[in-house]
Structures are given as structure tokens and as C-alpha cells.
């Protein structure tokens, strides 16, 4: 068993508005090997993402393992709609950073 950071396994880690009330997160892998490694480690789940972002699970509207793109995707409800006064990330484009340091245990 070795441990790797998600940032070293994924090709793309991003966040972006999905409409005015949600932010969606995409973790995309180069190939099925790394995708399956992360999927089978189960470190990314609805529960773990709620914990990481310190929100109740019902603020996560969707959690999808999307095989055609080797991607894991989840979406959260915003506390206030995008661009409301006080929102410092109108596009929701900088909310993914905490995902990068997630430790993934891998069977060799």
C-alpha cells in the first residue's frame, strides 16, 4: 500500500458554477487506471466531501462517478446565489483547492 495525493493522480481538478445556486466540482483522470484506483479507495464520497467542505450532506445535490470521462463529479448548493454581495468567487472557480491534498491509499 502506498499513498498518493489526488493532485498527483488527476489530470484536472476544477470547480465552476452550475447555474446561479450551485457549484460543481470535477476530478478528471488521464486513464481508467488512476480513475479506478481513486474510485476503489473510496476516499471521495458524498460523506467525505461534506466533511471536507464542512457542510451537511444535504447540501450536496449530486455525486456521480462518470465513467466515459474517467471523472468523479459532485455539486453543492451555494449558501447564497452567485454574485450576491459578499461572494468573493462569483464564478465558483477557486473552490476546488482543498481537493488537491486528499490522500489516496493505493494497493500496488
Amino acid at each position: 500500500m502506498i499513498q498518493k495525493k489526488l493532485v498527483d493522480l488527476a489530470k484536472t481538478i476544477r470547480s465552476k458554477n452550475a447555474g446561479t445556486d450551485k457549484i460543481t466540482f470535477d476530478i478528471i483522470f488521464r486513464n481508467s487506471k488512476e480513475y479506478e484506483q481513486v474510485k476503489s479507495s473510496q476516499v471521495i464520497s458524498k460523506q467525505s466531501m461534506a466533511k471536507l467542505y464542512r457542510i451537511p450532506e444535504d447540501r450536496i445535490s449530486d455525486f456521480v462517478e462518470y465513467d466515459p470521462a474517467f471523472a468523479i463529479k459532485f455539486t453543492i448548493y451555494r449558501e447564497k446565489p452567485s454574485g450576491s454581495a459578499g461572494d468573493a468567487d462569483i464564478f465558483g472557480a477557486q473552490q476546488y483547492a482543498p481537493l488537491m491534498d486528499i490522500i489516496v491509499p493505493i494497493d500496488e
Binding site: 466515459p68 459578499g86 477557486q94
Partner: protein, 453 residues
């Protein structure tokens, strides 16, 4: 036609200029249509609420000019959706005017300009609510109330393919659309030419953001979509970009909460069983999408409500003791605001960059390790005068915060400017709802005019 080719040079026309070389490369492929979307709710509620564009006019004009000249030279239709970021009536008129100006400037021959509006009168919606035809909330929102409707400054409905198809049937050479689903502008062209719905809507879905469906990452480059009776193929026009299975399938989930379904006025594109195939270095082929017509015709509404006039203040902190007690510093300033303005009738927001300025409550890191902080202060009130004084109080009082052990007694923060800056008024998305409609044309009146000499 065996196949139909559409090029898209920009995923949000005006937000940044299209890249000319890959666009001209796309034009060399002799497309049957040139189309781009020009709107997004990503830009926040201010442009819709205040009926302005966030994109500079010179960038909008740059792209319209490039597209118009190529479309007229090829003799093919040009389609623009969601004019001027928001697709309000004033933005449609502005784009129609720009097209006419460009045509005269370049002495283009006569051509037909079709356009349609997307704004919805509040009275129309009020009647719906009063007759029990609920304006249903999306994304966990409740049905729209009359109070929320009253507070809203401006509302647009999201068009599907219908007004575009009507204008194409009437022979429009250029179409300037009000607010519309991004995919509809491309799908309308394909449907107009007799291609099946499932491929037409997928074509729209994959082309809407231009080169975001290609890799490596690089925006504002042209992509070419080609539809047949049996499939869609998409090709990157930039010499270093490719449309791969991963980039195309990955794009299907971009900006969507779910990668399988795309809702448009009149139905849903189901991508659950899509099959992706790399047919050449730069081209991916897609089959297997399904289009399901909606049982009840409903149209999405977007609306923005004004919250007040807004000013911005900026302050910096370098003293480690002050950084450690930054909440106390802000509490002091908030108390001074309360002493002056009471507890209601205004909003003050502090974003503390270097701590959790970007993520707010979503930030998992609770310990501040930065040796300096930047505090952005936003003050919102009904009048400009009050918003300015409010923001000035909330910013300048950071300077006078009384921390018991502080060594620096000549000021708790640094100032880039000893003033506060007038910002756009604060608006909030008040409508993200759907409304019933008779059909896809009811809310979108179409018009025809002429350009050229």
C-alpha cells in the same frame, strides 16, 4: 446535405476576444453556419439587474465583425445567442445596431437580420401567480412569491430552438437572439436543415463553449462540429488542440450539476448512453444521445433584484498580533457602524484574503498562516451617500481598532487608498425558476430588419 458543418469561435462572445488564426482556419473549412453564444449567468446578477454588459463594447464588436465578414463572404447564416451577456432587449438592440454599423463600414451588400426579445413583463408573471399557475423554483428554491417578483428589477426567459428556427425559415442571414439556452443556437440550425433532434442538441451541447471541448486547455479557439443523420463529429481548429474522447466527454459535464442530462425549453438531452470514438487525431465522434420531449412546456426564468448602492474599501494587515486577533478588529469596526447606522437597513461584508476570503465558510483550513492579510470591505445601502459613509466607517474604523496588547499604536491596518470606491450596485439572483408557456415562441417575439447597402 449529407452533413452540416458549424463553427463556433467563442464560448461567451465579448467576455474575451476570439483568437483569429483558428477562426480563419475554421472558415477555410467552408462551414454552413457560424454561431456563438454571448451570454452567461456566470457574470453574476449585476448586468441583468442594471441592464448593462460586463463585456467591453470593443471586444463584442471585434468578434461580431470577424464573424459577420466571414459569414457574408461565405454566404452562410451567422447566429448569436444571449446578446451582450444577459440577452435583455437593450442588448439585442445594441448588437443589431453593431451589425448594421459593421455592414455599412465594410460596404456589405444587403442582408436580412432576424432578432428576438426574451424579457418578460412582471405583470405577465403576476397574472400567472394570481391564477394559480405557479412559477416553480429550481435548485431547491420555493415557488416565486409576489413579494419576490415585486423586488425584482428585470427578468429574462431562456429561449429554446423555436425563435431561431422561425427566423431561419423566414430567411434570416444574421440572427441576434435574446437570452437562450447555449445549445439551442446550434441545435436550431441543425433542426432547420432536417437533422434528428438527438444529434442536433448534442451538437449544440458540444459546441457551446468553443474550444473548452478540446485539449490542451485554451479558450477562445474555434472548433468545428459536423452533424449527419447518424452522428456528431467535433474537430479542434487550433493546430495544437485536439478533440479527444476525454476532452469531449469531459466537456459534457462542464458547468452542469449532472453529466447525463441537459434541460432545454421543450425537452431533455439524455447523454447517459453516449458513445465516444476517436476517429482521427483532432476529431471525436459521438453517437448514442437521446432527446426526450418535455411533457409540459416550461421555460426557465432568470431575474435579478437590487439590494442597494455599493462601495468597496480595502485594508491590509502586517502585524502578527493584529492578524491573530483580526476578528476583534472587524468587530470593533462593526460596532462603530452600529453606533452610527443602527442594526438594520444596510449590509457590510468583510472578505479576509489570506484567511478565508475566497472560500468563506467552505474553507477547511482554520489556522491563518499568512504573514499579511488583505481585507475587502463591501458596504450596501439604499442611497449612494449612505453606502459611501457606511463603507468608509466599516473600513476606516479598522485603523482605530482597540486591541489591548498591540504594539503599533499609530494604526491597525494599511491603506492602499485612503478612500472608498464606488462599485456597481449590489444585486441578487431573485429568479431561478420555470414558468409554463403555450409553446416555444410565446415569450419570444421575433422581428426582421435589414443590414448592408
Amino acid at each position: 446535405m449529407e452533413t452540416l458543418k458549424i463553427i463556433c469561435p467563442n464560448g461567451h462572445l465579448g467576455f474575451a476576444p476570439l483568437k483569429v488564426p483558428s477562426f480563419l482556419h475554421g472558415v477555410e473549412k467552408k462551414p454552413d453556419y457560424i454561431a456563438a453564444d454571448s451570454g452567461s449567468d456566470d457574470v453574476g446578477p449585476v448586468p441583468l439587474g442594471s441592464d448593462t454588459s460586463t463585456s467591453p463594447k470593443s471586444w463584442q464588436r471585434h468578434d461580431l465583425e470577424k464573424m459577420l465578414l466571414s459569414a457574408r463572404e461565405l454566404g452562410v447564416p451567422m447566429i448569436i445567442g444571449s446578446a451582450g451577456d444577459t440577452g435583455t432587449n437593450s442588448r439585442v438592440d445594441m448588437y443589431v445596431e453593431m451589425i448594421k454599423e459593421i455592414a455599412v463600414e465594410h460596404k456589405l451588400g444587403k442582408f436580412k437580420i432576424g432578432y428576438f426579445y426574451s424579457e418578460v413583463e412582471k405583470e405577465f408573471i403576476r397574472n400567472k401567480i394570481n391564477t394559480g399557475d405557479a412559477i416553480r423554483g429550481l435548485d431547491n428554491r420555493s415557488d416565486l412569491t409576489l413579494e419576490e417578483l415585486d423586488g425584482t428589477a428585470r427578468i429574462v426567459a431562456m429561449a429554446g430552438v423555436h425563435p431561431y428556427m422561425k427566423l431561419l425559415e423566414q430567411g434570416a442571414d444574421v440572427i441576434i437572439g435574446g437570452r437562450s439556452s447555449d445549445s439551442a443556437i446550434f441545435a436550431a440550425a441543425a433542426l432547420h436543415e432536417g437533422y434528428p433532434e438527438e444529434h442536433a442538441y448534442y451538437l449544440g451541447k458540444v459546441l457551446e463553449c468553443a474550444s473548452f471541448c478540446a485539449e490542451p486547455y485554451g479558450g477562445k479557439e474555434t472548433v468545428l462540429g459536423e452533424i449527419s443523420q447518424n452522428d456528431v463529429q467535433v474537430t479542434a481548429m487550433h493546430p495544437d488542440q485536439r478533440c479527444t474522447i476525454a476532452s469531449v466527454a469531459g466537456h459534457a459535464m462542464y458547468e452542469r450539476s449532472n453529466p447525463y442530462f441537459e434541460l432545454v425549453a421543450g425537452g431533455t438531452l439524455d447523454m447517459t448512453h453516449c458513445h465516444y470514438e476517436q476517429v482521427s487525431e483532432k476529431t471525436t465522434r459521438i453517437t448514442g444521445s437521446v432527446f426526450k420531449p418535455a411533457e409540459e412546456f416550461r421555460v426557465k426564468l432568470e431575474g435579478a433584484a437590487k439590494k442597494g448602492e455599493r462601495f468597496i474599501g480595502i485594508a491590509g494587515v502586517r502585524d502578527p498580533y493584529t492578524i491573530e486577533h483580526i476578528d476583534k478588529v472587524m468587530d470593533w469596526a462593526k460596532d462603530q457602524v452600529k453606533d452610527r447606522f443602527g442594526t438594520e437597513g444596510y449590509e457590510v461584508h468583510y472578505s479576509v484574503f489570506g484567511r478565508n476570503g475566497i472560500m468563506g465558510d467552505l474553507e477547511p483550513i482554520t489556522e491563518t498562516k499568512s504573514h499579511e492579510l488583505c481585507i475587502v470591505v463591501q458596504g450596501i445601502a439604499e442611497t449612494e451617500e449612505m453606502a459611501e459613509e457606511l463603507t468608509m466607517t466599516a473600513t476606516r474604523q479598522l485603523f482605530y481598532a482597540r486591541l489591548p496588547e498591540v504594539k503599533g499604536t499609530a494604526g491597525s491596518v494599511s491603506f492602499v487608498l485612503d478612500e472608498v470606491l464606488k462599485a456597481s450596485p449590489a444585486y441578487e439572483w431573485s429568479l431561478n425558476h420555470t414558468m409554463s408557456a403555450k409553446d416555444g415562441l410565446e415569450l419570444f417575439p421575433t422581428h426582421m430588419t435589414e443590414g448592408g447597402l
